[in-house]
Subunit: 455 residues, 4 copies
Amino acid sequence: MPLLDSLFRSKEIDELFSDTACLQGMLDFEAALARAEARTGVIPLSAPPAIAAKCQAELFDKEALKSAAALSGNLAIPLVKRLTTLVAKDDKDAARYVHWGATSQDAIDTGRILQLRQALEIITADLDRVTDATAQLTEKHRATLIAGRTWMQQGLPTTFGVKLAGWLDTLDRHRTRLRETQQRCLVLQFGGAVGTLASLHTKGLDVARALAEDLRLRVPDLPWHAHRDRPAEIATTVGLLAGTLGKIGCDISLLSQTEVAEVAEPSGEGRGGSSTMPHKRNPVTSAILLSAAMRVPSLVSTMLSGMVQQHERGLGGWHAEWETLPEIVQLTGGALHHLSEMLPNLKIDTQKMRDNLDLTRGLLSAEAIAMTLGGEIGRLAAHQLVEAASHCAVAEGKHLREILSENPEVTHRLDAGKMDDLFDAAKYLGVADDLIKRVLAAHRAPDNKRAKESE
Amino acid sequence: MPLLDSLFRSKEIDELFSDTACLQGMLDFEAALARAEARTGVIPLSAPPAIAAKCQAELFDKEALKSAAALSGNLAIPLVKRLTTLVAKDDKDAARYVHWGATSQDAIDTGRILQLRQALEIITADLDRVTDATAQLTEKHRATLIAGRTWMQQGLPTTFGVKLAGWLDTLDRHRTRLRETQQRCLVLQFGGAVGTLASLHTKGLDVARALAEDLRLRVPDLPWHAHRDRPAEIATTVGLLAGTLGKIGCDISLLSQTEVAEVAEPSGEGRGGSSTMPHKRNPVTSAILLSAAMRVPSLVSTMLSGMVQQHERGLGGWHAEWETLPEIVQLTGGALHHLSEMLPNLKIDTQKMRDNLDLTRGLLSAEAIAMTLGGEIGRLAAHQLVEAASHCAVAEGKHLREILSENPEVTHRLDAGKMDDLFDAAKYLGVADDLIKRVLAAHRAPDNKRAKESE
Amino acid sequence: MPLLDSLFRSKEIDELFSDTACLQGMLDFEAALARAEARTGVIPLSAPPAIAAKCQAELFDKEALKSAAALSGNLAIPLVKRLTTLVAKDDKDAARYVHWGATSQDAIDTGRILQLRQALEIITADLDRVTDATAQLTEKHRATLIAGRTWMQQGLPTTFGVKLAGWLDTLDRHRTRLRETQQRCLVLQFGGAVGTLASLHTKGLDVARALAEDLRLRVPDLPWHAHRDRPAEIATTVGLLAGTLGKIGCDISLLSQTEVAEVAEPSGEGRGGSSTMPHKRNPVTSAILLSAAMRVPSLVSTMLSGMVQQHERGLGGWHAEWETLPEIVQLTGGALHHLSEMLPNLKIDTQKMRDNLDLTRGLLSAEAIAMTLGGEIGRLAAHQLVEAASHCAVAEGKHLREILSENPEVTHRLDAGKMDDLFDAAKYLGVADDLIKRVLAAHRAPDNKRAKESE
Amino acid sequence: MPLLDSLFRSKEIDELFSDTACLQGMLDFEAALARAEARTGVIPLSAPPAIAAKCQAELFDKEALKSAAALSGNLAIPLVKRLTTLVAKDDKDAARYVHWGATSQDAIDTGRILQLRQALEIITADLDRVTDATAQLTEKHRATLIAGRTWMQQGLPTTFGVKLAGWLDTLDRHRTRLRETQQRCLVLQFGGAVGTLASLHTKGLDVARALAEDLRLRVPDLPWHAHRDRPAEIATTVGLLAGTLGKIGCDISLLSQTEVAEVAEPSGEGRGGSSTMPHKRNPVTSAILLSAAMRVPSLVSTMLSGMVQQHERGLGGWHAEWETLPEIVQLTGGALHHLSEMLPNLKIDTQKMRDNLDLTRGLLSAEAIAMTLGGEIGRLAAHQLVEAASHCAVAEGKHLREILSENPEVTHRLDAGKMDDLFDAAKYLGVADDLIKRVLAAHRAPDNKRAKESE
């Protein structure tokens, strides 16, 4: 977690990808491998305990491993060498069976899968926290009027509830994607040098099954040393989530602008202040969300490019994944975590939302009027009439109603009561409330819940 | 389909994204909208036929639409204007109801979804052709020996069948991903100006349901104008496939090298020749596969970045999708199509595969020997002994067996018969054949089939 | 220029990359090659006119070329075949010398360089139009007060002139970069099959020089078939410009928001209207600028990835460039062109800028007060005092001056006159005007001019 | 430097971007700022020594800073707070003037520029080492025959010297680009809160000049808080270099393949071994070069996307740069460094290069023969004749010469002596040697040298 960048991260996830955790993932593989091979009669039953006793990250000198890795081309080679030496000190016999039948990539990939499994569980939990908070806000702001904005211009009224339901609906789809990806992609890597487990002769699959069971992973139909759609899918699934987090950060930052001021990130001791401008409240969480959404897509692109790997085990493409996938998970997980902390405390100014609706002096009712008139004089003619009136209102600084009231084409079709209705934002919300209901119902559906629980 | 680039494309898919097809997609939306609104009592029953009669792409002047779009900011605005004019010529009354209650983005997004639906069906069919051809080759080359190569160096023997099974296994996963994405993402877009369908008052959802039924699409819980995880997921799912196509192209191009010569793309009149070197047979399909795998990841990155869209409908991000998503689908679909045509005709030289195994004079048996010795003298000691012998063999230009035969540590443990076995590549394939069986069984499983049929 | 996407393009640049222009570029190479080879005595003097007579794009059937290219792997092969046939009809002898000594890539790359040369000239001219317009606006709005905004929050006052000078300063740097790139990268490609010009024996460099002179290009020290830093640099230089255009589009779109309303893109018949909301004025040019800035970075990434080309001429990487580089140039050039048309007509509401400065009731003067107090009570103490007062002002809905006036720590240090000054935005602009002067002087410097003229 | 990834890095460059170095960069800014402000009479002369005494990274608790940064939104805010506290302990008065008139971004950006300056110097030095080694190898292998390969197929003979000269020519251009970028982009950042240096009143530019002089940086015409073309240009310039490094790595890895075996990365204790296959020599440096060339382009894309920053100081885009730019520099610098260490020790097997030329039994001479015949029977007819003969040779497993000798069309035009010449690769090298001379001359030109020295 580099210093300048630390603010984007979640401590919990970053620790999962620390140097120690990385080593431990590989060592967990080695210990489990020994147990699996003993259970399947490949190595003596006496070896696993002696090996497992040394499979502890803190027994290894990281700096020495780094130097050796730079020569050998990957970390597993010096790690296995060192582990063998450590085991041999206590049990020469057991040392013979360290890493038996496996290849470096088996240890590195499976170790990484173990780390990713934990990280995706944390992300899933944080996502649940965010969706539950969003669902509560959606319910609460079901009827809160706000300007709907398109192309960064006010368009028509909508409700803050619909806005939030849009976030929720999308986030719930990411929940499903994460589940599919966890099931498809978190599998054992175990193939030996070229994927045939040749050195285990006929026992390769028995060992694979025992090893997978030990690590609580599925056995894939085939080793996937040079077939990287699984890690790449983890990248795209998490990357899609980052995009949605960016959308949410974008909305919050736009709503927080001094001139809009409809929401504000929570303030507090040391939060979002400026080193020079004492009145500033910087939307720090939005910055984190936006920044993650800028960085992650390119990293996903690397993961996809890196899928082009040669023959049985690739050169360059595999290496390019090593830091890239954890980075994707850390940035997205970090942003999600910050959102989960901030969202329940988001300050919402419903009065300001209401006030901003009136900024354009009736223009947001233009469509309502055009549609109503359209039923009588045709959509296009009505559109043009109201467009002209809108221009006139803007040019003369008048309320749209005032301009329309001077037009007999309008007045002989719409009386004052009808006009009242048409200029009442709360009466021009279409199916806003139905949409909210649909999204909340889907969020709360037993299916959604069961899916969560059955993971 | 730009001239220089045309060789990467599939004609069938490219036509789906032609200007005419693009217009027709939007016009299909408009015709269906009119029918749906008539069925739900929103507009007169007489309007739909008059509107539908003009919803034909060839009635529109594309150049005029282009010029108008540049001013209005999107194509739907001038298209709807022009459609209204056309309808009005025959039926003034019906013209009033063109595009009733919809927004530009409803037409553009739904039109695009209709195009994408067809494209994904073609991709699925081509993918089936490729996997079936791969399955046949896998079966055929189950026992064909080939050098397994890691880090671009020969490592151990494997079979060409396992290599192909690796492709097949991955491609079958893409098949599943495509299905999930088709089900989740090919849904109706219909929300009106800010997503509330306000101008249809309480009838918005009824119209949406009727419209979706007409177009054979699902109704989403909420309009997704500014929530772009669905188009972005189409991009990632197709993008993942592009990565695997690149891996296959990479393998073929490496195996086709003059010095390796184990496979060759089919030759033929005008195929792969060089303008200057008459003997050349360029691997054209590999170039297409590799090129797609280089271009698509970045385009996926654009789709993910573009998810950061403002408020109810975005500025810039939505526009960035317009050409990007079709490009991803066209490049990947084109590459897949070329592979489907080439693969059944790939020339495979099994003798050359066998010959190349012997290039290193026994070195590929090094691991077998090390493992066998390892059982007696320990993995590490055996590794070091064989490593030294391998160096020696290379340095002296001798066969590894010759070197080892001079070492009593080896000879008193391994007799000539054992040595024969250890230097027989066919006897050091581990579970290669089991892996092939697993992959073929999964490919042929009723589940896989049913999944295909039920789409 | 795909239909949906047409609004992002400049007609002039897009025509440079049309199918016809692409063919013509390659044919210009072939005609010039014949002339150069005749001049250097490689081929008969009678050949060039016969060859040149057929080097006209309209003589070729594009659809037939496309089909043939898909088999041969690139367009040059069937083009040269067809050209040879055409020449042979009139002059069998001359036909022997078509494409003499060249390779496909020589024609394709040099043809592309000729297209790019024209495109970069157009971009340079549009950039000059934009910088000149920006310089005029900068001069005009030198003293126009506007809120300086950081982290999307109002911070301190600045001038609209400084804001514009920031755009100008950056754009002028892009001008310099374009010049450097044009000089370094627009060079001849001519190397024959593997870059040695072997088939021209000792005359290769003489032909190269004559050919380059004919096409007004520089001769590089070495053919660059597989060394793609030059096209990649064109991509990065143009890509950097796209980033700045996005920044400008971002600023305009933010300033155009309904709630800010300090600038507006020009309206007019058909411009920026909404299909449903008659009052809308969508910032169409901003959408174009933002969209280009989202798409171009990924395309640049493809160009950089594509640099990894094998041996003497690459497989896949070269192909990946074909459509990507023109796309970068077209998107950026299109956006720049739209900006050049829009900028002189941008509507600027200086009163609204002034009004928005007062929205926060004195908070923008917080830093001025903190700094002044800081001189007496220390920066940190002053910062904390003013921060607390700012919070108080916000909480109580009061003007900051009112809050501060109640604090003796302030009042005994700052009298009313001093307070007047501190709350006068025009008196807290630091060196704003000096900065503007520096930027305008640099823009108008003879060096900058001469650089322009000497190209 | 994460553990798994450490092998890609250069220790020297990575230390430049360590947490300590990052802090020290910002503290160097703060110390220099105090000195500059004292020199220009803005703050008392007594303050700078007291401030500078505490501007030492080791005085700060990094973990505490990280936690505080996560709340405040950037590291500078808590750093300045802590620095002020430290200074105040010894000198309350001086503490008032810490960070006077600056904004967080001034410290962060300038600190980063100071780090980048050092990193680019190291990269330049390593680049010099690589180009000098390449120049020596080019000279040495001027006449070493090797197969020229296009589309991954052998094409014509060339020399290893030309291949190397291609690398050298490109690398020298990167040298020039680096120089231009260093001059244009390594400038001071100093603008205060919104870029006007308001709190320094009229003295802003005087302080800027003194500060820049102290730090040996240029003063830009304008602060560039939200105008990021400079950091983005650093990214593209370094990114272009990464692409060329990938090309070199690609060439080396292809030439190192077991079946090609023309070069080999140096072996040695622990270098490139496999954990399972004792005979393996993995091309570790190639993996590093290829991996960097896969990762850097996407990171460059992030830098370009991140240029879209809002108003006076951006939200998200600036943050996205923090870790991305150092990563680009570290990955590229690391790869370059590894190349500089490996290249002088690359094992080159010139005999194998010669042998591989004969693999195709005369086919590499096909063009020579076609061109010679072409002079008599026309380019196209000759091409077809030789193409047919080549096919025949391949089909029958014969030498091309044998096939051609049976064809009277050939034999009555080319006698045995002529045939000897045509099948002699050393006589079909065109201007290979001239090209080498040109590149070496340019590399050694005083201009190139002076340019280096004058930096």
